[in-house]
Symmetry: C2
Subunit: 246 residues, 2 copies
DNA sequence: TATGGTTGTCTATATTAATAGACATTTTGG
DNA sequence: CCAAAATGTCTATTAATATAGACAACCATA
């Protein structure tokens, strides 16, 4: 669709090798090299981007570090991994079902949980008085053993006491809710923004610096419209896209 | 909500000053400095990020270049501009109404138009035979004289001949559709991804290199469900967020 | 098995990014 | 008006980034 044959820029605070790495990563995700299963030769890429071959090699080294490509002397640079998960955002958005069969193994890990008073912002979103106790879960989700999202999520403590255990056991919010007597819930709003990955993202999501993060801030309610969960989730932008079906 | 007190990273291909500029820009957009209307002193920022004061100065110089801050000797670094437009994505998403009163002046510019045969991908999305003529519009949207999106959008040529003129005159897709006899249309799907800004983005959207772009790929149909428009729009991520209300 | 295409490694050099320190200049507020 | 708190400017040094060229090592295949 978009050719994207824009050239690479100097003196912008982003090293050439990183810009090139980002471009190649995007091309791979886009399926541009599917015919061969290989990235074009270093020589060709260097000419294409108008840089020295060594600069391209730096870019490929970075991608190899991420596990996306593997260079083999004499053969070329092979594509190892190529994925972009699609997350449908609907009134009935659920993480695990959303992935569907895009991944064989799905995992939900509880990194940390705590009880705390609701901040001003949070209390407004959950429609509870400021300072009301809420349970905060820090979770990491994986698909086929690759981390795909890092979430911070809050629940009213009075209604969902013990949800940390329920989630820890089941690895699923949907199941945890069910264990606590909430059989159904609805996504009422989702805000989507994007930013550069910070240190925590790099560590948790196993990204390389300079990566882009998609952020979704979501509010779920029960069928009566009473807020039950507010979540801020961070996804690696090169692995994930959101789809909103109306 | 998220404190974001992650530190800055070295040797990642992204210059420290750029990482710091991005962080400060985000803090400004987030309203962190609203109390004073000023960015903290260079000394303080340097300590906060663990870098030399000169490095912070480079970051602030970049933000000044973007018109976001203005440094005044003796006083400090004043915040000039602070905006993040919100775009609701619903079944009845329209650009101009979506912005609503978030901007006083709204503009839609036609950069270029052409007629071309539909590609494989496009024909599938618009549900027309491959190669069927489509009209492509390249548009730029502004709010209060600042560019907020750069779109490429396609229409079936047989049904919407002359839409380039209609858009050019009105600066609005909604109005252009109406001029061609389509009084109503619906957003059926939107895909959201993010990437680094490329050269064209930098030029068209007046961004500084390294900026992040939110990409929305949208399909609109008439009330009968027949596709009438497919659009790929690019938004500066630090100025825009999407909201999906279910 | 020879050859062309490809990645791996090495040396050298120039430019950019980052640190460090000192001091000048300007504004604000007591 | 003075002092504190800012930003502005200058010099010097080190580390990271990028270019350039040459050649070795390896793989596929004709």
């Amino acid at each position: 669709m978009d050719t994207g044959q824009a050239n690479v820029h100097r003196q912008n605070g982003v090293a050439l090798w990183r810009q090139i790495a980002d471009r190649i990563r995007a091309s791979i995700a886009n399926g541009d090299y599917d015919a061969t299963g290989k990235v074009p030769p270093e020589f060709t890429l260097a000419a294409q981007f108008g840089v020295n071959r060594h600069t391209v090699r730096s870019a490929l080294a970075a991608l190899a570090q991420e596990g996306i490509v593997r260079s083999v002397q004499g053969r070329g640079t092979l594509i190892e991994r190529k994925e972009r998960l699609n997350f449908p955002i609907t009134r009935r958005t659920r993480f695990s079902e959303g992935i569907g069969d895009q991944a064989r193994e799905k995992e939900g890990l509880l990194l940390h949980s705590a009880q705390e008073p609701a901040s001003t912002d949070l209390s407004a979103r959950l429609r509870i008085p400021e300072g009301t106790p809420v349970i905060r879960l820090e979770t990491l989700r994986k698909a086929d053993h690759r981390p795909v999202s890092r979430s911070t999520t809050w629940f009213p403590a009075d209604r969902f006491g013990g949800i940390e255990e329920a989630y820890s056991k089941s690895g699923s919010i949907t199941v945890a809710f069910r264990m606590l007597g909430l059989s159904d819930y609805l996504r009422v709003s989702t805000e989507v923004t994007a930013t550069h990955a910070d240190g925590a993202d790099l560590a948790d999501l196993q990204l390389s610096p300079g990566a882009i993060i998609l952020i979704a801030r979501a509010l779920n309610t029960d069928t009566e419209g009473v807020p039950v969960q507010y979540a801020v989730s961070r996804f690696p932008a090169d692995m994930v896209q959101f789809t909103i079906e109306n």
